[in-house]
Subunit: 89 residues, 2 copies
C-alpha cells in the first residue's frame, strides 16, 4: 500500500478524531453524570460519522469507512450513556 | 464545480460534523457548567481537526480545510469554556 506524508497525516488524524469520544464515554461511566454533555452534539457527531461512512462506501475508501464507523460507535455510546437516567444504578 | 452524489453527501456530512460542537458550546455558555464535559475529548477533536486541515492543505482540498477549520474553532471554544473557572461571572 502506497503511503506518502499526507496519507500518514490522514491516518494519524483519523485515529485521533475517531477515538476522541472514548474519554467522554469513560468519564460518564466513571462519574455516572452527563448533565453538562450536549445530546444534540452527539446526535450530530453520530449523523456526520454515518454520512461520512456512506461517503466512504460510495468512494470505496476503506480508511474513511473504518474511522467513521469507530467514531459513530463511540458517539452512539456517549449518546446512550447521556440519555439513560442519570445516576441510575 | 463538479458535484456528484458522493460529493453532495460529503458536503452534508462535513457541515453536520463541523457544526456538531456548536450546541455543546452554547450549552456551556447557558448553564456555565462543564464539569461533565471531557477536556481530553476536545483536545483530541481539536488535534484531529488541525491535522485534517493540514492534510487538506497537502492534498489541496479546500472543503477538507474549511470544515476542519470550523470544527477546530468550535472545539477550541468548547475547550476554552471547559477550562475556565466554573460558574465564574
Amino acid at each position: 500500500m502506497q503511503m506518502d506524508g499526507a496519507e500518514m497525516l490522514g491516518l494519524v488524524a483519523g485515529f485521533i478524531g475517531a477515538f476522541a469520544f472514548a474519554p467522554q464515554a469513560i468519564k460518564i461511566l466513571r462519574t455516572r453524570d452527563a448533565a453538562d454533555v450536549s445530546a444534540l452534539t452527539y446526535v450530530m457527531v453520530l449523523s456526520g460519522a454515518v454520512l461520512w461512512a456512506g461517503y466512504g462506501v460510495l468512494r470505496e475508501a476503506p480508511s474513511i469507512i473504518l474511522w467513521n464507523v469507530v467514531a459513530a460507535s463511540l458517539a452512539a455510546l456517549v449518546l446512550t450513556l447521556k440519555l439513560r437516567k442519570p445516576r441510575a444504578a
